[in-house]
């Protein structure tokens, strides 16, 4: 049993070292955004300001649920979410602190919470990704409603469990009304749409030719092009006619009211809304900047101002109605 003794020794040693407290006042960030994407810009903040940031990475919903369970005892200072649903849930429990007006004014009104509890950091557009070998650009309809046409039967994919998709459907309900949205959902379901778990799976499937088109966020494609080269046979269609099918939504962040490091946390938010970080989002993660005056890389088309309807995307009560509609049409189990 000698091996046992060594094992226990190492475990205890390890436990002790891992338990040791951290250094002075780092900002604790819960991030629903992937480490591979945002770690570089966080490191740059630390280099420029000397403020350490400790990040817990996870899924947006899991991080939001964690904050909700922690409540007022949360060690987190900031929550950076991938989509507004997570922000809305935390805001609804009153766990966010009000952000200073100076910070809020730096972004357009529809990229932040109307109550001033969270602020958008980077923008993502809903697009249709399509396989260039199987679909000619001329075939693609101008509006998302066009995909209910029977000509698209068996060629579509979507991810109804995805947060961004649900926000898009919420926008549809607000823009078109409940009945028209139900008609659209039923029309797509009648086209035998294939269900995927998330946007990544849809883009992979479109590239492989498993389906010919799918409803996703715009920036996933660029990661595939970087991994597999320009020959990857998929491209984005930004649906020129506007409307909720080409909704622009934000990944945003909020300051927790229970934070005892608010000054440094706000400095981090300030940095994220500055030119350096916004240029990083445009050039490295291919997302849309939320402040004016940042040049877009050639791959990203300029957004049509009409494509961002003015609605509170984080309104949770509205999200509940969306889930109900998706379940009643059979889009969700």
């Amino acid at each position: 049993m000698k091996a046992f003794r060594w094992l226990i020794f190492f475990t205890l040693l390890f436990a002790l070292t891992a338990c040791s407290p951290g250094s002075d006042e780092p900002v604790v960030l819960y991030s629903g955004r992937s480490e591979s994407l945002v770690a570089p810009i966080i490191e740059q903040f630390t280099e420029e300001t000397g403020i350490q940031v400790e990040v817990r990475y996870g899924g947006t919903a899991e991080m939001a649920a964690t904050i909700l369970e922690e409540g007022a005892n949360s060690p987190a200072d900031l929550f950076w979410a991938q989509d507004p649903g997570g922000l809305g849930a935390v805001a609804a429990e009153g766990l966010f602190a009000d952000l200073p007006a100076g910070l809020l004014d730096r972004v357009p009104a529809n990229f932040r919470s109307p109550e001033g509890t969270w602020i958008g950091i980077s923008g993502r557009a809903r697009v249709v990704v399509y396989n260039t070998d199987m679909v000619s650009p001329g075939e693609l309809p101008d509006d998302i409603q066009g995909f209910t046409d029977p000509a698209w039967s068996g060629r579509l994919g979507w991810a109804p469990t995805n947060g961004s998709f649900q926000v898009m459907v919420t926008a549809m309900r607000q823009f078109w009304g409940e009945d028209a949205t139900r008609t659209w959902l039923e029309g797509i379901l009648a086209n035998d749409v294939v269900v995927y778990d998330n946007n990544t799976a849809i883009v992979a499937a479109v590239g492989a030719g498993e389906v010919e088109a799918g409803f996703v966020n715009h920036y996933y494609l660029y990661r595939f092009l970087a991994e597999q080269g320009e020959s990857f046979p998929a491209r984005n269609d930004f649906l020129p006619s506007g409307g909720p099918g080409s909704l622009v939504m934000v990944a945003g962040a909020g300051l927790l009211g229970s934070s005892d490091n608010q000054e440094n946390a706000l400095a981090f938010l300030d940095f994220l809304l500055g030119a350096t970080a916004q240029t990083f989002f445009a050039e490295e993660t291919f997302e849309y900047p939320v402040i004016a005056g940042v040049a877009l890389p050639p791959e990203l088309p300029a957004l049509n101002a009409l494509t961002s309807p003015e609605i509170d995307l984080a309104d949770l009560d509205d999200l509940a109605g969306t889930i109900e509609l998706l379940q009643s049409t059979g889009a969700l189990p």
């Binding site: 338990c19 992937s34 994407l37 649920a65 060690p75 649903g85 990544t200 992979a204 991994e227 509940a320």
Partner: protein, 514 residues
Amino acid sequence: MLLLWLPAGLVAASLLVPVIYLFVRAASGSAGLAGVVLRPENLGVLANSLALAVAAAACSAAIALPLAWLTVRTDLPLRRMWTVLTALPLVIPSYIGAYLMVSTIGPRGLLQGWLEPLGVERLPSIYGFPGALAVLTFLSYPYTLLSVRASLLGMDPALEEASRSLGWSAWQTFWKVTFPQMRPGLAAGSLLVALYALRDFGAVAIMRYNSFTRVIYVQYQSLIDRSAAAGLALVLVAVTVGMIWLERRTQRAHRMYSSGSFKRPPAILPLGPWTLPATLFCAFVVLVSLVIPGANLVYWLVRGLAAGEQIGAHWDETFNSLAVSAGAAVMIVIAALPISVLSVRQPGRLSGLMERAAYIGFALPGVVIALSLVFFGANYAPAIYQTIPLLIFAYLVLFMPQATGAVQASLSQVHPNLEEAGRSLGRSPLDVFRRVTLPIVRPGLLSGAAIVFLTAMKELPATLILSPIGFGTLATSVWGAVNGVFFARAAVPALLLIVVSSLPMAILVLRRDL
């Protein structure tokens, strides 16, 4: 025996923490709670889940039984290598396994790409029940394999020899003498496979199989009504309790005990002309469950590197994964001992209840366990919140039945007379425990530790939520990279996960302990 009741009781009580949390959450519920939980559609998806669980258990047994037999009782060449390789699929997370299966043999995957010059436009769809069953079977059969192996290793050859000398044929001996001794291991392993299939999120999502966990997943993801999500999780607990009760009822009462010369190694049977088919069988299982996923990962890596992607070393994560998984394996097996010994040596209502409490944690999705510990840790025990001890406790709740099942299966092979003899010869209960019971359950302890180690290596949701900030494991690295669509970057920790997990297994096997 009093010495055992106290720790057993403490451990069992702590295992109920997540259930308490679920009741608290559900009780804070809104009007919508009943509406969500009692939807008629839920019955349909629940039936889907149960069908998958039973089928996965059956298919896993079909793979694991021959493998266990071949690697323990025959003269199969390279037995020890096959032992390590066939246990390794346990370390592959189910969502990665499903992703890789689609990527390789999906309708437009790698295989189809190679066959395209021959005119194959699309391979048959693997989605739905067949795909989900295949992924879950090939990734969880090691539960049954390791449990049955422990049973075979603990068997007394004298029983079979007696049976043959009394005139029964080899076949009769197998069915009447050998197989009943394998039953406890088989039952323990199959129950684990069934519960694993019941609570799996990842594979069923990718394979588009409408299971009950998808309903729970939708509720948790939407964050709208946490009480409804808790209510649905309680339904899962109820189903688990039902399954365990059913499994216990099918266990026959009679036991086969050895007569005392149990230290002899198992009798080895020559395979002769069966050597080649047996080797091919082992090779096929390893190919599907390990080689093909591994090759696909290498393909991701090479493709990404060719396109200029950067990958990193993962020494920190490797050390973290190894340390916390090994630590968890040791502690969970120690914690499992009192409950297992009591449930076998002093069967009764209380010990049975404690033993069953262990399974509840295993049937719940990892995120539920994690959130329950967040609730208790952040609000009632902040000193240990987000520290390694709490993380290991989460693993304890998640993986306890893997250890208790293995230990019980070992212990039930030996007659209680041995321990009673020890007592009657004047030894104290502690002495008897140390010198008689512990050596008997050694195969079970080690196989339990091996199973816990392998599953802890791949654990994701509890680690993401409860580990100290900055504490990354190989599993969290894989997940983070796949999430951000960095496949080459995901391939490195995934391959490391498989390779590094094989090392402790190889050591145990080489020492002839496993």
